[in-house]
Amino acid sequence: MHELSVTESVLEIACKHAEQARAKKVTDIYLVIGKLSSIVDDSVQFYWDFISKGTICEEATLHFKRIPAEMVCLDCNHNYTLEDELTPCPQCGSARIRVVAGDEFNLESIEVQR
């Protein structure tokens, strides 16, 4: 995935909300990332250190919360968690499945100093 554009968006959103709250500094940023959104934490961190320099978010710590990939079978309603590989319903073998969770890609909150 394209970590640079993603990291720039994180910075933009965090700065916007921090300024609205008249914060002096952002110390922590909490991200929620589903396992299915192919984001590499290390590269986001890498870009972050560069692009946050000189902004209100400089030196803020990034926290990544990973959400597992949760599927539901459309034939038997069975819920299951995907490990690494895409697998059919373990209960009935159907390939008609849908993602319930694991798609998240959100900035959930920030911690600021006023």
């Binding site: 554009s5 390939a95 909150s109």
Partner: protein, 220 residues
Amino acid sequence: MSENRIKIVEKILDANDRLANSNRQRFNEVGVYSINLMASPGAGKTSFILKTIEGLMADGVQIGVIEGDTAPVTIDSDKINAAGMPAIQINTGGECHLDAVMLENAIDQMDLSPLDLVIVENVGNLICPAAFALGTHSNVLVASIPEGDDKPYKYPNIYRGLDVLIINKTDLLPYIDFNMDYFRQGVEMLNPGLTTFAVSCKTGEGMDPWLEWLKGRISK
């Protein structure tokens, strides 16, 4: 939660999504149907666009093409122009996908009013384009036989966001070990009931059902 914790809950790519919506609006205002055509490099995106132009020629359908490439080349847009249709080339400057901002710039440069259909050829890549909505009416992927039958398993995200799947280069099936059942089972798990057309851009086989589908979408 401390008072210094500010709750946000915003989608990280929200800005892109908002701009994508405004692109959609612009297509709707002029009654143009739009397609985001994605694929890995060399799967046959440009060949498929050319075959589509050819197949709709008799109906007088006007097609504008937006070509995304990571390098400043006009190879693909020259082919479109040679087929008699207008093309805009976007050079992403090394970026491996198109986003809604780049599409907005391209449609600023294109006269949409005489067009019935716009096809955007995304950068050849199965990863990033899946995450960046452009605002087109449909997402179409060209998967080709020589890429192998395991691609849905390896690049699940792009399959999940599709409206139409094109399986190209079917003329090569006799020469390549490609298990169609395995491929289709992967697709089914990611996108149950996905509209799929198997074609060969070389022989033209299988193009008609796709052209019929497309004609049904274009408001004349």
